[in-house]
């Protein structure tokens, strides 16, 4: 009898490990589930003093990238975005809770990956969009948000969720 009982000491940890492995793999699937949200209405100044609203980008495929000059991860993400821009991916910047001069200088210093960059000083549009922080990236296809990624966008994430649209 005693020799059978001892397998319990192995069985319990094994089942716990299997359980958590399952949970992790499930949570990974969940993270990349497609979205289907309409782009909220907005009207914002861009950093170069133009006005843009949701109607201007209602057709076509764009990336919306939330960034700020105070955000260090955005600095880390920057070379990859430049890479995308060079490949012809149109990126709209959403400058988030940032000082306008700082933001313009940042783009001058590091080269802008953005077609245009909206200036959302109070974070109101970002709030409607459901932004939790910077950086964050949304994929907009004909006025519908179909993908969202929180944190730094990198090549793996790009291939996994975004590349198919371009």
């Amino acid at each position: 009898m005693k020799s059978k009982i001892r397998y319990i000491f192995l069985l319990v940890p094994i089942s716990i490990i299997v359980f958590f492995a399952y949970v992790i793999s499930e949570s990974q699937n969940e993270a990349s589930q497609p979205l289907n949200l309409e782009l909220p209405e907005f009207q914002l100044q861009t950093l170069d003093d133009k006005t843009l609203s949701e109607e201007d980008i209602s057709t076509g495929t764009y990336l919306i990238n939330v960034w700020a000059s105070w955000c260090i991860t955005c600095r880390v993400e920057h070379p990859f975005l430049i890479n995308l821009k060079d490949k012809g991916v149109p990126i709209i910047g959403l400058n988030y809770k940032d000082n306008k001069d700082d933001a313009i200088n940042w783009l001058k210093d590091f080269k802008s990956p953005y077609e245009i960059s909206l200036h959302d000083f109070y974070g109101t549009f970002a709030l409607d969009l459901g932004v939790t922080g910077a950086p964050e990236t949304y994929l907009l296809k004909d006025g519908i948000i179909v993908r969202r990624h929180i944190g730094e966008l990198n090549i793996e994430k790009w291939r996994q969720d975004f590349a198919e649209f371009f």
């Binding site: 319990i8 958590f20 949970v23 793999s25 499930e26 105070w70 260090i72 809770k97 944190g151």
Partner: protein
């Protein structure tokens, strides 16, 4: 250049641990000469010194504001005072993992260098120590490197530390907690070595008992500090929230408490040998499990670091491998262990064993509370949250039974059957006193007290009165007094008593007030007199002036809200008026659309006693470990 040196030293340390591990592995079964043992020990020592140097260099980088290092750029800032620059290292995943591994290597380093190299377990101890360290260093280097650089253009300033972490408690809470978690690696590797060696003749308890007590003291202090920080800095208004991360710290703590008791029983009366070995392994495995839960981000919690499933999977793999090796050894070898004695029913060790079972039950309950939301989420697609009602209902009866067993164990003897009448006659007076005091305390409260609260209150008072009575009787009869046990258990009783009183007497009021508005009730008058704005270097302060009239005494409060410019984060600074028995705690909430503000006013009874009793428990343990020098 310095980041690369630090990185290189860490890689070299991993290489040396690997070498030290392989030296033992490849010579297994051969008659091992002293020189081989020396070689692996020297590698182990060198690796630890490299790791310490790497960490010192990393501290230097943080202090010198080297923002070309990505992690430092993301979590530090040149305006921070020097101790926050240092503590920013453990304010997020990569750096805190680095610290965790550093402590792990230091504990094990101290331990192996105090062991007798002639001991036939020595090579196994080195083997398992190097193995555990190697796993975690690989994890750090491959999935969570804190050495990554932002080149060629480094940012001119860092992204700042999270404002809630700009607190003295952050400087010490995580290090103390980690010292506790990884301190249990010492009994873990020794038990693994003992089981792997497979000859169970020599005693092993005395070698690791002291180490376990120190680790227990650090773990308790770490948890206590975390609880204190949540109360006064984070504005949570309480001491414990059954947050998943608190729970994963509580599980190893409960296991460690069971372990320190059972190792004591094992040395004193030679019982529970294999059970103690099992507990020793479990404590460290539960610590690893905690690290996995916090760092994988699968459970939403205030403490979660960045959500990265890949990292989680790797940590799960490491925890899995380590637990399978150790429990595997246990299940195949422990059948050979012969307890020198059997547990005599009604003896001191029998009640200790029963309490051990209760502690395992409570670990299992906490574990269930942690994973139940995951089970429903992934198997039934519904979200549930498990909160205080679940834990309170489960813990109250368990603690009551535990208090009874503690009482019986105090009045019984090692290896001897109890005499029912004698034991009960000794317990009679404490039982009467406790019933009486419980009745008095609960009648001080004007509303009815729930059964759970009554149970908690009684258990606390009961434990305090047993030990006080015992101390009194022993000093009158000039008998031996076990101060360590008495102080720790008085601390534990006081803890239960304070928690129960806190839950019975505390109350809170949520108010909505405009400037110059007053709130008047029977017990108190509160007036909101002024609201002022102040600009500081990196944040804006909104300060409310509140005056409270209570028992004909006027107290003024100035709770604050702070808005930090760089991250736009808002934090609350609570104002607390503390007296011996009670804290008045005012927290400013949101501004409503009509311009008024919300306030939370709490009257917390005996809350500081909770942390005081935690210190008492630690003091008791320190008395014990000093006596063991």
């Amino acid at each position: 250049m310095i980041p690369e040196i630090s990185h290189l030293l860490t890689i070299l340390a991993a290489g040396l641990f690997l070498f030290s591990f392989l030296v033992i592995l490849t010579t297994n079964g051969l008659s091992v000469t002293d020189s081989i043992i020396r070689l692996s020990l020297n590698c182990f020592n060198a690796a630890t010194i490299f790791l310490i140097s790497a960490f010192i260099l990393y501290i230097y980088l943080a202090v010198m504001n080297d923002f070309s290092v990505k992690y430092i750029a993301m979590h530090s800032n040149s305006d921070l005072p020097i101790f926050y620059k240092i503590s920013s290292i453990w304010s997020s995943h990569e750096g805190s993992m680095f610290l965790w591994i550093l402590f792990l290597s230091m504990w094990l380093w101290l331990f192996v260098n105090r062991l007798d190299t002639q001991s036939n377990l020595f090579r196994y101890v080195i083997f398992f120590s190097a193995m555990v360290l190697l796993f975690f260093l690989l994890f750090l280097l491959v999935t969570s490197s804190p050495f990554e650089r932002i080149l060629p253009l480094a940012p001119s300033n860092g992204g700042d530390i999270n404002p809630v972490l700009q607190d003295p408690a952050l400087v010490i809470h995580p290090p103390m907690l980690y010292l506790g978690y990884v301190g249990f690696a010492v009994p873990f590797v020794y038990i693994c070595a003992y089981l792997a060696h497979g000859e169970f003749r020599q005693g092993w308890e005395t070698i690791i008992q002291k180490w376990s007590l120190y680790a227990w003291a650090f773990l308790t202090l770490g948890i206590g500090l975390g609880s204190w920080w949540a109360y006064y800095e984070l504005g949570w208004g309480g001491y414990w929230f059954w947050d998943p991360v608190e729970n994963v710290a509580l599980m190893p703590w409960l296991a460690a408490t069971a372990f320190t008791h059972s190792i004591h029983a094992s040395t004193k009366s030679g019982v529970l040998k294999s059970w103690t070995l099992f507990l020793g392994l479990t404590v460290f495995i539960l610590s690893l499990f905690g690290a996995f839960i916090v760092r994988s981000g699968i459970i939403d919690s205030v403490h979660s670091f960045a959500n990265d499933p890949q990292r989680g999977l790797t940590l799960l793999l490491i925890t899995g491998v380590i637990s399978l090796i150790s429990f595997g050894l246990f299940s195949f070898r422990s059948t050979k262990i012969v307890n020198s004695r059997l547990v005599v029913s009604g003896s001191k060790e029998s009640f200790l064993s029963l309490n051990n079972i209760l502690m395992i039950t409570s670990i299992f309950s906490v574990f269930l509370g942690v994973i139940y939301p995951l089970i429903t989420q992934y198997f039934y697609s519904t979200k549930v949250s498990i909160g205080p009602p679940y834990y309170n209902t489960i813990f109250a009866p368990l603690i009551f039974i535990a208090a009874c067993f503690i009482a019986l164990s105090v009045e019984s003897k090692w290896q001897r059957k109890w005499k029912l009448t004698e034991t009960l006659s000794k317990l009679g007076i404490p039982i009467l006193i406790s019933c009486f005091l419980t009745f008095i305390v609960q009648s001080l409260h004007q509303y009815s007290v729930s059964l759970i609260q009554m149970i908690g209150l009684f258990s606390g008072i009961f434990i305090i009165s047993i030990y006080s009575f015992k101390l009194l009787m022993n000093s009158l009869n000039r008998e031996f007094i076990n101060w360590s046990s008495a102080v720790s258990h008085l601390g534990f009783g006081l803890l239960l008593f304070s928690i129960a009183c806190n839950s019975i007497f505390s109350y809170e009021k949520n108010l909505k007030l405009n400037v110059n508005e007053e709130y008047i009730s029977e017990q108190l008058e509160i007036s909101f007199d002024d609201l002022s704005l102040k600009d500081e270097s990196n944040h804006q302060r909104i300060i409310a002036q509140i005056n409270m009239k209570i028992h004909d005494k006027t107290i003024s409060f100035s709770p604050e809200k702070r808005k930090y410019f760089t991250r736009g984060q808002v934090t609350s600074e609570t104002d607390i008026e503390a007296t011996f028995l009670r804290d008045i705690y005012i927290n400013i909430g949101e501004q409503l659309d009509d311009g008024s503000w919300t306030f939370r006013v709490q009257f917390n009874y005996l809350i500081k006693w909770i942390w005081f009793s935690v210190l008492l428990m630690i003091l008791g343990i320190l008395i014990r470990s000093r006596a063991m020098v």
